[in-house]
């Protein structure tokens, strides 16, 4: 996960749960072993946990122990809240959302919300997480209560991994303003038609 690359030298094995445990283990396995393991559907025995397999782990992983309870700040370094939980996709083992308790910021009452995991970034100092979302955007997000109703997330996502929507946490597309146009694509600005590659408000990101 590139968002953790600011943790140089830090290597901790994700000890999340069964799902992410499998993910970590698959990362650790050489390709041949991985496919053999997947095809046979065998669970590893204790004898499979050899030091060789552990040394094959690539990249930087963080334990939930490290992450949970971390301060969440905005890009200006102001406190936003703290990370309470992670939500996983049990099929892929990927962390999908972070559950963040926010409050006491610009008069906003404390509440727990769910944000896309890729909206959170490890701060450069490695001591907190950064949520690049304005309080105004967070304010209307319904509070999350475990087991009560759907999980609501902000309509947009922030950065690359973000896969974003249109702007950082600001969704531009309004179906009520939809229309159909017909015409010709132009080539030059002064003629009308041109196609160009310019900045794109959205995402790029993580699961590219």
């Amino acid at each position: 996960m590139k968002k953790h690359s600011v943790f140089p030298g830090m290597l901790a094995v994700l000890s999340l749960t069964l799902a992410s445990g499998v993910l970590a283990q698959q990362s650790a396995l050489p390709e041949q072993s991985k496919s053999a393991s997947q095809s046979s559907q065998n669970y590893p025995s204790a004898s499979d946990h050899k030091p060789d397999a552990l040394t094959a782990v690539q990249g930087v992983l963080l334990s939930t122990e490290t992450l949970l309870g971390s301060d969440v700040k905005n890009p200006q370094g102001q406190d936003v809240g703290d990370l309470k939980h992670l939500m996983l996709d049990p099929h892929t083992g990927r962390v999908m959302y972070g559950v963040v308790a926010i409050g006491g910021f610009l008069g906003m009452g404390e509440k727990t919300i769910v944000v896309p995991w890729n909206a959170l970034e490890v701060a450069r100092d490695g001591k907190s997480l950064v949520l690049n979302v304005s309080p105004q955007t967070l304010q209307p997000v319904p509070a999350y209560e475990k087991g009560k109703g759907p999980v609501n997330v902000p309509a947009g996502e922030t950065r690359g991994g973000g896969w974003g929507v249109d702007t950082p946490y600001g969704r531009l597309y309004d179906p009520a303003k939809e229309q159909i146009i017909s015409g010709q694509v132009c080539q030059h600005r002064d003629q009308c038609s041109y196609a160009w590659h310019g900045p794109w408000y959205a995402d790029a990101g993580a699961d590219r």
């Binding site: 996709d89 099929h91 999908m96 896309p116 890729n118 690049n132 997330v153 996502e157 922030t158 950065r159 690359g160 991994g161 973000g162 896969w163 974003g164 929507v165 249109d166 702007t167 950082p168 969704r171 531009l172 597309y173 309004d174 179906p175 009520a176 303003k177 939809e178 229309q179 159909i180 146009i181 017909s182 015409g183 010709q184 694509v185 132009c186 080539q187 600005r189 009308c192 038609s193 041109y194 196609a195 160009w196 590659h197 310019g198 900045p199 794109w200 408000y201 959205a202 995402d203 790029a204 990101g205 993580a206 699961d207 590219r208």
Partner: protein, 90 residues
Amino acid sequence: MPGMAPGMQMLVQTDDGKNTRVQVGPTWYLERQDLDVKENTRVQITGAQAEIDGQPVLLAREVQFDGQLLTLRDMQGMPMWSSVRRAATK
């Protein structure tokens, strides 16, 4: 700026003579769609008006051209490249 990646816009001269900037999508996504809209191609675009950097643009949801239909967003406007959308439809 965080959250920005190269993307594609088109300028379309509509049948009533107006020029409309159309925000199509991020380049990395369009490259996967085998999209090849050439200049002077006739297009029909369904999208929503929005404003970016003070400029009016049309955020494309569907682009039809040469008998092809490229769907870029769902009916609510959530981009096909959004992980939020993908997660919701899994």
